[in-house]
Every structure is written in structure tokens, then in C-alpha cells.
């Protein structure tokens, strides 16, 4: 589904990604872990198409298409969804309005029929249950005045409505209490399917108790320095990140 080959990216003159290689197949859950400043969020932003990042080398193939050539909106319409680390507050735009517009724009792009008001309402009511989101949040402005947990749940709710093929969760767990974490993880798990893939970016192993990854990668200093099964996450939890910073350790492993 997604193949990242030797991806280099800069912010300004500073190189953040220094040759990322990653292959994600449909049905898989990949976790990307690593210390802060390693390039995890940059990778998410580059995949979503955020301005301000310059890809200097490498390519990203998504379902046979050159992803980097697509506009952010076309990436979304092709089925990529980024759950933001810091969801933006948009005063004056209601959650419902955002979702309805987004869903219909995506459907239009795919040549599918747009939903009418009733169908849309039925859909969102059903999807709200997945993340146990309070109904009053629907008519409120996007993320405005939401608590940290509500913002993160709202991201997963949007994901549940838009049904992406590839979901990228950028530190969706950070700042969540254990109840909110369970709800978020539960939402992600319910949406898992053979056709969909998920990339979970996290700093902590905790989330992976609930969202069990097929592959765990360690991103450090702009490169994936280690990949392994889910037990790698536990090892990281136990030892911290210091050992991966030492190249000798990595070879021994």
C-alpha cells in the first residue's frame, strides 16, 4: 500500500529526515517509536502534505501513485488520514459542517453519490458511538474549547466517518488519561480491516498495549534505525531510548 524509499526532507536548511525506508501493506499496523526530535512528526507531516517541508530526495509510492505529487486534499481523497498531534481549533466552523463537506468532497472525487442530510446524520450518530463522543460536540466549532482528550477523540471520530485506507496517528496517545486512551485505541481497533493500514506514531509503549502492532520501527535522528515485532516496543519501554543512540548496541542486536 505504502512504500517510502530513501526519503530525505528538510525544514528550512535543516535536514530532518535522512533516508527513511518503510513498507506498509494493507491490513497491517505499524508503530513508529523513538525519542523526541527524531523526525516522527515530520514524517507524518510530509506524508499528509503539509507546507514548509521540502523533500530533497527519495520517493513515496501510495497505491501505485507518486504521493508527493498530490495536493493535501487529493491525498485525503485517495484515502490518507492524519490524526493530528495538536488538532487545530477552528472557531466558526462546526464539526458537522467540516465532516459533511469533507465526506462529500471525498465522494465527489471518487465519483460516488453524495450523502443527503438524513444519511449523513445516521452515519455520524453511528460513528460517534465508536469513540463515545458527546453529541453536543457535533454542533460546536471544530475543537474549540475541547479538552485534550476530546480533541484526540474527535480526530478518531473524523477518521471513523471518513474511513481512510491509510491512517496515520501522530502521538494520538500523548496527554491522554487511561480511560481516554482505551476509548481512542478501541476506536482504532474497531476500524481495523484487511483493506486498511495504520501507522501509529508514539513516544510511549503504553498505547501499544491496546493497539497491537505487527511491526515496530524506531526512528532516530531522521532514520529508521531498528525494526522488529511488538516485543521491540516492550524492550524500548524497559531500556529507554538511550541504547539505540549507540550504534554499537544496534549492531549487537
Amino acid at each position: 500500500m505504502l512504500e517510502i524509499k530513501n526519503l530525505h526532507a528538510n525544514i528550512g536548511n535543516k535536514e530532518i529526515l535522512k533516508g527513511i525506508n518503510l513498507k506498509v501493506n494493507a491490513g497491517e499496523v505499524h508503530a513508529i517509536m523513538g525519542p523526541n526530535g527524531g523526525g516522527k512528526s515530520t514524517l507524518a507531516s510530509v506524508l499528509a502534505g503539509k507546507e514548509g517541508y521540502v523533500v530533497t530526495k527519495g520517493e513515496v509510492i501510495y497505491n501505485g501513485k507518486n504521493l508527493l505529487e498530490l495536493s493535501p486534499e487529493d491525498r485525503a481523497r485517495e484515502g490518507i488520514f492524519l490524526a493530528f498531534q495538536y488538532p487545530v481549533e477552528i472557531p466558526g466552523v462546526s464539526n458537522t459542517n467540516l465532516l459533511k463537506t469533507a465526506l462529500n468532497e471525498i465522494k465527489k472525487y471518487r465519483g460516488e453519490e453524495e450523502l443527503d442530510a438524513m444519511e449523513f446524520l445516521t452515519l455520524i450518530k453511528q460513528r460517534m458511538k465508536i469513540v463515545e463522543l458527546d453529541q453536543t460536540l457535533l454542533s460546536r466549532s471544530v475543537n474549540e474549547g475541547f479538552s485534550g482528550g476530546e480533541k484526540k477523540r474527535n480526530e478518531i471520530f473524523q477518521m471513523a466517518v471518513l474511513e481512510p485506507k491509510l491512517a496515520i496517528l501522530d502521538e494520538t496517545d500523548s496527554g491522554l488519561d487511561i480511560d481516554a486512551l482505551r476509548i481512542v485505541a478501541n476506536g482504532v481497533n474497531k476500524l481495523k480491516s484487511k483493506e486498511r493500514a495504520t501507522i501509529v506514531i508514539t513516544h510511549y509503549q503504553r498505547l501499544l498495549d491496546y493497539i497491537v502492532p505487527d511491526v515496530v520501527h524506531v526512528l532516530y535522528n531522521g532514520k529508521i534505525v531498528k525494526s522488529g515485532g511488538k516485543e521491540l516496543a516492550l524492550e524500548l519501554e524497559e531500556k529507554g531510548y538511550d541504547w539505540i543512540k549507540d550504534p554499537k548496541e544496534l549492531i549487537e542486536h
Binding site: 499528509a48 502534505g49 503539509k50 507546507e51 495536493s71 493535501p72 486534499e73 491525498r75 485525503a76 481523497r77 488520514f81 492524519l82 493530528f84 488538532p87 487545530v88 477552528i90 472557531p91 466558526g92 466552523v93 459542517n97 467540516l98 465532516l99 463537506t101 469533507a102 465526506l103 468532497e105 471525498i106 472525487y109 466549532s141 471544530v142 473524523q158 471518513l162
Partner: protein, 439 residues
């Protein structure tokens, strides 16, 4: 300078023919006021950017034209103004063509006894006592040349009178439509709205044009809100993009009266708007909201003044602007809190979004506070569309253009949603939708 002197002579000589056209009316008590005003007009100068109050607003292009005072009765068909009405909103409609009342197009409801909505000209003919009590009392012509000009040419305009204790259920829509057919006309409506004690009324002053003509609207509106009166006022300015619009609104508020205004501006090449509210007694509340949407070479200038002369009054002021191309916006919000005016609450905010490199806003809060137990605040922002919000919307599959429209709508919605008349809100929503389609 010589050119401007010529222009003054132009209006002075036009005054003579205006006087002539009045025939018997020149014995009318109001004529003494006209004469004093034209006298004062001859002494005053048109403002230049050297005047502090006009620092950012260069009106030399307005002064290039010899605008002809509009005379006689212009006629329009009902179909020509249908698109300027607010759907099938229940209202009283007063229509003015080039500043003159059109009885044929107006549609005034059967009001309960004593309520009047009609033309100033008719009121002058009736020698209405209530008119004399208020006319010219709030918009002083002595210091402002455009008010002097307006006062000198007093002829017509809208008149609304709501006696004590009366409530006007449906809004009064006053439509000033310009149809000058390349004649470079000046229209000078003089409006007077009087709300008696415990009365309530909603008035929409609406300026629009049938063609993209060059003309000049110089309007003066005086509003008097007596004790405990509630007045909801809106000015919707959709003049031709080549027109000039100078307007002055003076609000005089008595004890516990409540005045709300929305000033929505989209038209005119140059528009200058002065809106001043004064609390004459305790407990008044005044809300001045505004939205200006500018493109091309448009220049919009609003100067507001809220005079907290008495204690325990509240004022809220929120103006928002969206500017693109090479348009210019000027906002000057002055609040005076006089020594007596303890327990004053005065809040002011001006936010602007600039969509192009060439657009510019000058915004200036001006608080003069002479009392010590008050709450006052002001804020001003000038910025671009929030890039993070834009990316967020795009990342959900919404196209660039649509995302911008959504954000601009959201920005404007703060002001639009506070409009009380639902049909007007809808009318405005439709305009905004169109207007932002190509930004």
C-alpha cells in the same frame, strides 16, 4: 487647491438653484437651518490627509467630480428592486430612488396609532413638531463639511417615529437605491429615527445600486433612543463599486436604552463612515458591530466614537474586515469615558484578514478614560488566513478554494450571527457565499 475651491463654488451655485426649486418652501422654518449650513459649508474645507481624522483616507478622487444634486422624481419598476429585498420577509418597506421617496414602491404596514414610517419631506410639509424637536440636534453641521453640505440640501430622507410604549413588530426596511444613469448624481438622504420611551423597533438602512455608476451618497442619520427604548439598527452598504459613500450616524441615548447596530459594507470605491453614540444618562447599552469586505481599489474608513458621559453604561464594539487585492481599510475606534462615568464597561475589538500582498489596514483604538472605576479593553489584529486551519481542512479532503471559503465564512460569522433579523442574515449569507467564491 483651486480645483477644490471650484468644487465649493459648484455646490454653492447648486444651492441657489436648489433654493429656487423650493418655491414657497423657502419660508419654511427648516430653511433657516439650510441657509446657516450653506454659510458654514462655504467656510469649511474639504478634508485632506493632513487632517488627523482623514489621515489614511484620501478623497481627492471624490473631489474630482461635479456631482449634480438629484432632483425630480425618478421612477423604477418593482421588478428592478426585487433582488434587493430580503426574500418574503414581513416588513415595512420604504424605497428612496436617488434619495427621493418613492411612494409607489414603498409598502408601509398599517401601524398602530401614532407610529410613523415615511419620508422627511412629508414630515416637513406637515410641520411635525416631533421632527423639529430632534432634526439636526445630534449631527452638528458646524465642524463637518459633509454634514454641512447635507444639512444645506435637506430635502428628503427616511423618518421613523415610534411613540412611547409602542412596539413595531416587523422590521422597517429602508432601501436607498441609486440609478443615476451616468449622470454623476449626489444623493443626500437625511434620516431621523426616534424611539420613544419603552418602545422597540428594528430598522435596516440599505444602500444599493442598479448599475455600476459613479455617484455620491452623502447621508446623515440621527437616531434618538428615549428611556428604556430598544433599537436594532442595521446599515447594509452595497453601493456601486465606482460610487462614493459618506455617511454619518449619530445616536443619542437616554437612560437604560439599548441600541444595537450592524454596519455591513461591501460597496463603493471610497466609503467613509462615522458612527457616534452618546449616553446622555445612566444605564445605556450600545453595541456597534461591523463587517467590511473589500476588493480591487476599494477604500473603507470607519470612525466610531462612543461617549460614555454618564455612569453604568455598557458599550461593545466589534468590527471585522476581509481585504484582498489593493483594498484599504481604516478603523478608528474612539471611546471617551468622562469623569462622571463610573462603572463603565467598554469593549472594543477590530480583526482583519488580509488575503493579498497589496491590501492594507490601518487600525487605531483610541481610549480616553477620565474615570477610575471602569472596565475597558481594546484589541486589534491584522493577519492572514490561519495556515494551520487551512491545512487541517485540506487534510480532510476539502479543496483549497472551498477551505478558504469555509474559513472566511467562519471569520465573518462572528458578526453575521449576531444579526437579529433572520431574513437579513440569510440574504447576507448568500452574498458572502458568492463574494468568496473566487478568493
Amino acid at each position: 487647491m483651486s480645483q477644490i475651491l471650484d468644487l465649493k463654488n459648484w455646490y454653492l451655485s447648486n444651492f441657489k438653484s436648489f433654493e429656487h426649486s423650493l418655491n414657497g418652501e423657502s419660508n419654511h422654518p427648516i430653511h433657516a437651518l439650510r441657509k446657516q449650513a450653506i454659510e458654514r459649508f462655504s467656510e469649511l474645507n474639504f478634508p485632506t490627509t493632513h487632517d488627523e481624522d482623514w489621515k489614511y483616507t484620501n478623497i481627492s478622487s471624490l473631489l474630482k467630480y461635479n456631482f449634480k444634486p438629484s432632483v425630480g422624481r425618478y421612477k423604477l419598476k418593482r421588478e428592478q428592486i426585487t433582488s434587493l429585498l430580503f426574500g418574503d420577509m414581513k416588513c415595512s418597506l420604504l424605497v428612496f430612488i436617488n434619495g427621493h421617496y418613492s411612494e409607489a414602491l414603498s409598502d408601509v404596514k398599517n401601524f398602530s396609532k401614532g407610529i410613523i414610517a415615511g419620508s422627511i419631506e412629508a414630515e416637513l410639509k406637515n410641520n411635525s413638531e416631533i421632527l423639529y424637536k430632534h432634526f439636526g440636534k445630534y449631527a452638528d453641521y458646524k465642524e463637518q463639511i459633509f454634514t454641512a453640505l447635507s444639512t444645506a440640501f435637506t430635502k428628503d430622507g427616511a423618518f421613523v417615529y415610534v411613540p412611547d410604549g409602542k412596539i413595531v413588530e416587523d422590521p422597517i426596511h429602508i432601501l436607498f437605491v441609486s440609478s443615476s444613469e451616468n449622470e454623476n448624481i449626489i444623493s443626500q438622504p437625511r434620516n431621523l429615527f426616534i424611539a420613544g420611551k419603552n418602545s422597540q423597533v428594528s430598522i435596516i438602512e440599505h444602500y444599493a445600486a442598479l448599475n455600476e455608476d459613479v455617484y455620491f451618497t452623502n447621508s446623515v442619520t440621527e437616531i434618538y433612543t428615549d428611556e428604556n427604548a430598544v433599537v436594532d439598527y442595521m446599515k447594509l452598504q452595497e453601493e456601486s463599486k465606482k460610487a462614493f459613500h459618506v455617511s454619518r450616524i449619530e445616536v443619542s441615548q437616554e437612560r437604560n436604552s439599548n441600541f444595537t447596530s450592524h454596519s455591513i459594507s461591501m460597496g463603493s470605491e471610497i466609503s467613509r463612515n462615522d458612527i457616534n453614540a452618546k449616553f446622555n444618562n445612566d444605564g445605556g447599552e450600545s453595541t456597534l458591530n461591523g463587517l467590511y469586505i473589500l476588493a480591487g481599489d476599494q477604500l473603507f474608513d470607519t470612525h466610531t466614537l462612543i461617549d460614555h458621559a454618564k455612569p453604568n453604561c455598557n458599550s461593545h464594539e466589534h468590527y471585522k474586515g476581509i481585504l484582498t487585492d489593493k483594498s484599504r481599510g481604516v478603523f478608528n475606534g474612539k471611546v471617551i469615558v468622562r469623569p462622571d462615568a463610573q462603572k463603565t464597561n467598554a469593549f472594543q475589538e477590530n480583526n482583519n484578514i488580509i488575503l493579498s500582498d497589496g491590501a492594507l489596514v490601518n487600525t487605531k483604538p483610541q481610549l480616553e478614560i477620565f474615570a477610575d472605576d471602569v472596565k475597558c479593553s481594546h484589541g486589534a489584529t491584522i493577519g492572514r488566513l490561519d495556515e494551520d486551519a487551512l491545512f487541517y481542512l485540506k487534510s480532510r479532503g476539502i479543496g483549497e478554494e472551498k477551505s478558504k471559503i469555509i474559513l472566511l465564512h467562519a471569520f465573518a460569522s462572528d458578526i453575521v450571527k449576531t444579526i437579529k433579523v433572520e431574513a437579513v442574515k440569510k440574504y447576507l449569507e448568500a452574498i458572502l457565499e458568492n463574494r468568496f467564491q473566487h478568493e
